[in-house]
């Protein structure tokens, strides 16, 4: 399995990368970790004329604290996110999701920016980014814009990124005080991708209630989504197992589940309910703990 020939550029700065992208237009593909793109090239499902390797551009990787939370450079690898004490402390949900991606070798190469840009409906990060209300920062020759995760994933392998834009960072606001988080996943046996992944963030309220909850679901439908009906059913309710179960039963309400070789639409709907219930219960347990 050898890719078709292509040209290769390794710009030294973001400005150079943007200029190359403009110059080559549709014929170019950005290359970060290559763990979505190289398999496509090898299978000749993609045949770009030029690869623009941005993996070494300084300033696009690493994790820093900001006034409102964390800034994670687009080139930060899944392993770096998984292992980061900052991420584990500030938004453990994201570290947990990163740690469930593929395997060690994949996590050593794949990047958060590449994963988001690729927008694979079976990828793990979208659920976490939705539940954390993260924003994706994109640069173009015209400037920089910040796209909320809720508007970023638009379809299978489709995002709100425009041609010519490069993702530079993911910004994750600090979750509300006292909240608990969890990411749970039913993985495809062979590839490890998510058949269903649920990210839950629960904010406990007074007197054993739930003040609010956020639930991101990936793998079940395309694009990944917030299970708003589940969230609404929990707001202000007692944090009882029964209430969680009733709310989680709505986790696939109003979506059209994927139906493929790995799981039927009905099975995915059922997985969404079961994993939403478990993720909510785990998030609540951690909030209390």
């Amino acid at each position: 399995m050898i890719p078709a020939p292509f040209g290769y550029k390794r710009p030294g700065t973001l400005a150079e990368a943007l200029a190359l992208l403009r110059e080559h237009g549709e014929d170019a593909r950005l290359l970060s970790g290559g763990h979505s793109l190289l398999p496509l090239l090898k299978a000749r499902l993609a045949r770009p004329g030029v690869l623009i390797d941005i993996a070494r551009i300084p300033g696009l990787s690493g994790i820093t604290e900001t006034a409102g939370g964390l800034r994670i450079g687009a080139l930060t690898t899944h392993h770096e996110v998984e292992a980061s004490p900052l991420v584990r402390e500030a938004c453990p949900l994201l570290a947990e999701a990163a740690g469930r991606i593929g395997d060690v070798q994949v996590r050593n190469r794949g990047t958060i920016g590449g994963s988001a840009a690729h927008a694979d409906p079976a990828s793990d990060y979208p659920a976490a980014l939705l539940a954390l209300e993260a924003a994706l920062v994109a640069s173009s020759p015209d400037g920089t814009r910040s796209i909320p995760a809720a508007g970023f994933f638009t379809g299978p392998y489709e995002s709100a990124l425009k041609p010519g834009e490069i993702l530079t960072a993911v910004e994750v606001p600090s979750p509300p005080r006292g909240s608990g988080e969890a990411y749970l996943k039913a993985a495809q046996q062979a590839s490890g991708f998510a058949v269903c992944g649920v990210a839950a963030l629960v904010v406990p309220g007074p007197g054993g209630t739930i003040a609010s909850a956020r639930v991101g679901v990936t793998g079940v439908a395309a694009p990944a989504y917030r299970a708003r009906k589940t969230e609404e059913a929990l707001a202000g309710k007692p944090a009882s197992p029964d209430a969680l179960r009733r709310a989680a039963a709505l986790a696939a309400e109003g979506v059209e589940p994927l139906d493929d070789f790995y799981a039927s639409a009905d099975f995915r709907r059922q997985l969404a309910r079961v994993y939403a219930e478990r993720a909510l219960a785990e998030a609540l347990r951690r909030a209390k703990g």
């Binding site: 399995m1 050898i2 890719p3 078709a4 020939p5 292509f6 040209g7 290769y8 390794r10 290359l31 290559g34 763990h35 190289l38 398999p39 090239l41 090898k42 690869l51 390797d53 993996a55 392993h79 292992a83 593929g102 395997d103 060690v104 070798q105 994949v106 050593n108 190469r109 062979a190 590839s191 490890g192």
Partner: protein
Amino acid sequence: MNISLCINGQSRAFDAEPRTLLVHLLRDEAGLTGTHIACETSVCGACTVLLDGKAVKSCTVLAVQAEGSEITTIEGLAPGGKLHPLQEQFWEKHGLQCGYCTPGMILAAWQLLERRPDPSEEEIRHGIEGNLCRCTGYQHIVDAIQAAAAQMGGKR
């Protein structure tokens, strides 16, 4: 394109097309056939090498992406023929049968022990998740990694 790599401590220069996969460069140009190719589709881990100290599947890395990097292949784990504790323990504990998966398995295990010098059985199984073995049923591999961890006493 010119590609310079430091492979198992030796600086090497190659002329290769950008589409050349690292695994092909290592096997066909550098002559290091210890790195195996099996699935070619990023799932089996047979082609695992260390790229700047990180385990990667070399069928899913372009040689040009590795430009200027340090590569360690299975050959590099036994300089002068002295086996690494992982190699010794795969031998002792029967961590291989046909041996096809072994180079990749050992380098994935190397990565695990570098990050977790004293792993539990569960951590070992998690650490070699990206490597498939069709022969051993994994138990002897897990035993070998555990024994190597003990032999190394926390050092790599």
